[in-house]
């Protein structure tokens, strides 16, 4: 295979060389423990605080101490959901999450549901958006926490966070958003969003894997999740990953610097992809096509009559990396809970294709994907014993 085309930037990104360069000194030279008093430790602490300030300033936090460094989006989400709900020893209450959250939010919400809390899942509508009215209807007097993600990782729809947060606050609940997919990709100010907490992940923004941030608005009580030495002002224990956190801050700054040109470039590429793919693959559909707002870099399709994994493997043989459903539960037989939540029929959800573009994507890459997908879809459909039935049903529906 000659060509390699990576189109799964929503799953993970390469660490930018500039980020690696910024991290390198902290492995071998500036390796101190940021909690040590001597000069090597103070140097590490200064680098860490500098990284904290840079992150705070990028997301418009009121102060650097609103930034807690974690080991990833999952840890940030777990900490936020369980830590906010149980802060101050609270052992009961009502929690609302959207039904198409990442599992890093859903699982801790379900955990709460088994441990004294009641959990409501708000359904997004078919446009891939959680509507403030639907959230308002789910809120109760004893709702303590609401979590709705900023940008959905599978279908790329943006949620009206400011309105949702206002609705939650109006009922006295805290509001958390999982912004792992939006950080760096859209203008993101925590004050404008009006959230109490937000989760971010380094490896989605060309930073290192195993790094993350939890934004925690000043005065927001949190039961820390990782406990021990009391680092991060007692909000997250464990020796800080100075290199990783410097990498996170550096990656974010690069995103910020390049966004003015990068966002429109990706949007144009995405539109080219959508047009090309829908034009050439019969019966293909763009999921959540009528979303009011979407991320520039994610497009999610249903290719009826085709199974996702088989499609992926054939595209892989052509050097193309894309994903079906979410990347984190490969081997799972379950169709994407996100697609089901927005009303995609389960038999089509098995044939979903998520394409996500990034820093190194070109128009040729996008065209190549479409060119390669045409024969793959044809081949798999010809092997599908039910394909005729499927098409008949589709045409019936569409009519």
């Amino acid at each position: 295979m000659d060509r390699t085309v990576y189109l799964d930037y929503a799953a993970t990104t390469p660490t930018d060389q500039r980020v690696v360069d910024a991290m390198l000194p902290f492995f071998t030279e500036r390796f101190g423990n940021a909690n040590s008093l001597y000069s090597l430790g103070r140097d590490a602490a200064r680098a860490l605080e500098d990284a904290r300030e840079r992150v705070a300033s990028s997301i418009g936090a009121a102060a650097p101490d609103e930034i807690v460094f974690t080991a990833g989006g999952t840890e940030s989400d777990n900490t936020a959901i369980i830590g906010l709900a149980t802060a101050g020893g609270r052992a009961a209450g009502h929690v609302v999450v959207s039904a198409f959250e990442h599992h890093a939010v859903l699982e801790p919400a379900w955990w709460l549901g088994k441990h004294g809390f009641e959990v409501t899942e708000v359904q997004p509508r078919t446009d891939g958006t959680v509507h403030p009215d639907d959230l308002a209807a789910a809120l109760r007097d004893d709702t303590v926490l609401v979590s709705v993600m900023h940008g959905n990782n599978e279908i790329g729809t943006l949620q009206p966070i400011a309105e949702l947060a206002a609705a939650a606050h109006a009922r006295g609940a805290l509001f958390h958003t999982d912004a792992a997919q939006t950080l760096g990709k859209v203008d993101l100010g925590v004050a404008a969003l009006g959230v109490d907490a937000a989760s971010f992940s380094g490896h989605k923004i060309y930073g290192p894997k195993g790094t993350g941030v939890l934004y925690l608005k000043r005065g927001t009580r949190l039961a820390p999740y990782l406990i021990g030495g009391g680092q991060e002002s007692k909000r997250r224990s464990g020796t800080q990953n100075v290199a990783g956190n410097v990498g996170f801050a550096t990656a974010l700054e690069i995103m910020d610097a390049e966004r003015p040109t990068e966002a429109p470039r990706l949007t144009a590429l995405r539109d080219r992809l959508v047009e090309g793919l829908l034009g050439r693959i019969e019966h293909a559909r763009l999921n959540a096509a009528d979303a009011p707002e979407r991320l520039p870099h994610i497009a999610n399709f249903v290719i009826p009559g085709v199974e996702g994994e088989a499609m992926l493997l054939h595209l892989d043989a052509a050097g193309i990396a894309v994903s079906t459903g979410s990347a984190c539960s490969s081997g799972s037989l379950k169709p994407s809970h996100v697609l089901l939540a927005i009303g995609c029929p389960v038999e089509f959800a098995h044939g979903s294709l998520r394409v996500s573009l990034g820093r190194f994507t070109t128009a040729e890459d996008v065209d190549y994907l479409v060119d390669m997908l045409v024969p793959v879809a044809e081949r798999l459909r010809s092997m599908n014993p039910l394909y005729e039935k499927t098409v008949a049903a589709l045409v019936g529906h569409a009519g």
Binding site: I82, E107, W110, W111, K114, H115, Y225, G305, V306, E307, G308, E309, A310, L313, H314, A317, S330, G331, S332, L333, K334, P335, V346, E347, H350, L380, M383, N384, P385, L386, Y387, T390
Partner: protein, 149 residues
């Protein structure tokens, strides 16, 4: 989750794809809700599987197990074909990831159903015992621990 080379080879170049017109036996198992559907058609001569073809909607393992099971069954007596176990299919492919073991059940089930169909159509005794496995879409992850923190 990593597939063996043999799985990938069968997935990329599946043997015996298609449908035998006027087949002697037809087996269709799985359903699109679960994401796996397999159709096996066989022609039988002298109680042996003379020809066999499949169509499968499903993942890499589903296609590879379909392919290998047709290869294994071709030329076998009906009794031999019916005796193929899911573990033999997996072994023949150099192993399957645990999460994909159910696919080999799909393949052996499809074959059994096709043979059974032939037997019934020809007024013979159907296969003893259940033809299809209880739950070919058994999810190996469901036995997960309760999360507690």
């Amino acid at each position: 989750m990593l597939y063996s080379d043999k799985v990938m080879e069968h997935f990329g170049n599946p043997r015996n794809v298609g449908v035998i017109e006027d087949a002697d036996g037809i087996g269709e198992v799985g359903n699109p809700i679960c994401g796996d559907v397999m159709k096996i058609t066989i022609s039988v001569a002298d109680d042996r599987i003379d020809d066999i073809k499949f169509q499968t909607l499903g993942c890499g393992a589903a296609i590879a197990t379909s392919s290998i099971v047709t290869e294994m069954a071709k030329g076998m007596t009906l009794d031999e074909a019916v005796a193929i176990t899911k573990n033999q299919v997996a072994e023949e492919l150099g192993g399957l990831p645990p999460a994909k073991m159910h696919c080999s059940v799909l393949a052996t089930d499809g074959l059994k159903v096709a043979v059974d169909d032939y037997l019934v159509k020809h007024g013979r005794e159907p296969i003893a015992g259940p033809v299809k496995s209880a739950d070919p879409n058994f999810d190996p992850h469901e036995d997960e621990d309760d999360h507690a923190h």
